[in-house]
Symmetry: none
Subunit: 219 residues, 4 copies
């Protein structure tokens, strides 16, 4: 590649809008949180999906949310010798370094990662070679969630959603395989939560951990 490309104009326009409109109202927050360090009370493990941005959905101010985003908002089980260090390192940073109080595993509808898992599962061994070097392995983390599916709808869309729900339940279970998290939850110093965002309607569904069901958020 010879000449270097200009910075994407859409991003530049977006930044200018931020700088001229929102920044003036929050410049104090930015300056102060730069000087004193961030102190978020909530960590969110969300999906990279462009339609499910936690700061947008929770109308968050700078400094409020420590956000990990990977494909399908997956939480690997605790495995210090394992292959999923990126997400586990971020979880550890939030729990030990930032001492967050709340951890939210946040899924969403029509998740491409969950869809890819279902496709490869259904295609089975005769499937055409997966051209992927990484995705296939990563989404295999969804598999254990199959055990936690509660609903059994007729249609494929419903079945995918049931697995999206189950994967959030599984993510919370996996968080509990981290000794520090399990221990801090045991003494009431950390709370684990689950939620699912319906990207087509904007509804937020909250996991009721007593019933295992997801209920539409009131309020």
């Amino acid at each position: 590649m010879t000449e270097t490309p200009a910075f994407p104009s859409r991003l530049l326009r977006g930044y200018t809008a931020f700088r001229d409109q929102r920044l003036p109202q929050e410049s104090a927050r930015y300056r102060i949180l730069a000087e004193t360090g961030q102190r978020p009370r909530t960590m969110i493990i969300g999906c990279c999906d462009s339609r499910a941005a936690p700061e947008t959905i929770f109308d968050a101010a700078p400094g409020e949310l420590f956000v990990i985003r990977n494909v399908a908002n997956l939480v690997p089980p605790y495995d210090p010798d394992g292959e999923y260090h990126g997400t586990s390192a971020a979880i550890e940073f939030g729990v030990m370094g930032l001492k967050v109080r709340y951890i939210l595993v946040m899924g969403h509808g029509r998740c491409g990662g969950v869809q890819a898992y279902i496709a490869s599962r259904d295609a089975g061994p005769n499937a055409p070679e997966e051209p992927s070097a990484f995705i296939g392995k990563w989404i295999s983390l969804v598999a254990p969630a199959e055990q936690l599916v509660c609903e059994s709808p007729e249609d494929a869309a419903g079945r995918q959603r049931a697995l999206e729900f189950a994967s959030i339940r599984q993510g919370i279970e996996n968080l509990r395989t981290f000794p520090s998290i399990r221990n801090l939850e045991e003494i009431g110093e950390i709370e684990l939560h689950g939620a699912w965002f319906d990207i087509s309607t904007g509804e937020l569904h909250i996991l009721d951990q007593a019933t295992g069901r997801f209920e539409v958020a009131k309020g």
Copy 2:
């Protein structure tokens, strides 16, 4: 812990504000992007830091940004057999599945991950045992960036910023170790960019890949 905790009230209030104010203006976007699928043109690899949310800084609408967030916005080098699958899987998903046109490696000032790398590097062998099971290994990905430091300021804050800059340059180099990305960039189908957000002033510094310098965004 026996009884299940209520959903954090701050998050619920934030969601209600989103649902009552922003959602009505963007419900069409959400509905249509749910039906047709997301088609973001930009992938951002950013940091989990609560003060550096890409959607906020780029004033992004739902569907515009595919966002990966890990500690210190690191891009692992291409390594199909390696240990950093989470981020690599998301990069692959964005490039192959979503066909993004722009990839932005976005760092920020006073990054706790870079700071932790510097501290462990300087502490050396006498350092107290790192109680971390994951962070230490993850931030070791910063090390190669030391070669790409351009500035040599007097003070520690300046030295950290110089390494934050270098780590962005390294991230872009690492993106080019992915065969698909290198090839697509070569034929002008993908552009790689770097930026650094000053969390104390809200200034965006853009990497000029011709000079290797970061310049404050005009516009």
Copy 3:
């Protein structure tokens, strides 16, 4: 002194009671908070007085309260070059290191420190030489609080209490002279509170910062 004294038997008995009765119920908290580090959400600046122990009065579990205790629960004004580093260092440690959310200045009735200040003030310049090398200087920190006295009771006991109240108000004002605290309070990340414990009745009086009055705690 020749032979070394045995450890005070009263303390030993007290520890044995703790070890045999309370520790078994809280051993998990101790072990977990040792492994993960403390994460108190409240910092209390209290008096050394033996009748006003914060953990007792707030029935606190291990790990809940970060507690500074000095004579008359005084908060020195911010003065990096000044002489009161002990308390200021502890305040800084709680705010910056532990990221506490609440700071409570807690006074109490019949405070010997406030009493000593009043005695030396009333004795005036003709007072017999204060034999104290430190106390006189330390309690001089009470003086500015005279401006914040609201009540004007007849009797000496009432006047001392009014000054104890005022000294708590002054302590909160002095906390606001710490740039980090003033800033974090401004953006709602830290709350400052005041309370006064009546050691003769066990009543807790809470400062209503809207009216400046102390009201008996309900609940």
Copy 4:
């Protein structure tokens, strides 16, 4: 911040529990000690750490312990013109005003203050500027204790504990630089003691001043 925040609910609940359960059993103690004044026989110089509350560990009743708490339970050397008046004033108040018989310097494991001292010592001149205005100076009081380290363990945790022990020895030495304390100890009117609390196991280690060793408390 405009509106005044409500008193933290956790503290209010804790006070209510104290008022309804413990206070009724000790109301006589509180009333009498209010009328006659406090007469604690023991002064404890402890750490602000939320996991090392003296009243809890010694199961103390109201009026028993006069408690000074600062970061790392440090005793400054006698220095009437010096900068550490807060702690020295409290020591003087306890010895001269309250006529305590026992002075206990009480340390604990995994002390953040001692850890901060070690970190800054090891980081050396290359260390990032200490953003602290007070902590750095305060913990420099730990330095002389390096001379009194007896153990030389392999691991960092053990080395920190050895320094925590030494700092307690140093604190007792510093108490003896106060003329009144040195004199009163000489004629057997005051006893100086040291102890170290293991926050992970709840074990109390008592300093044997004949051997200089810390032994687990029996009894």
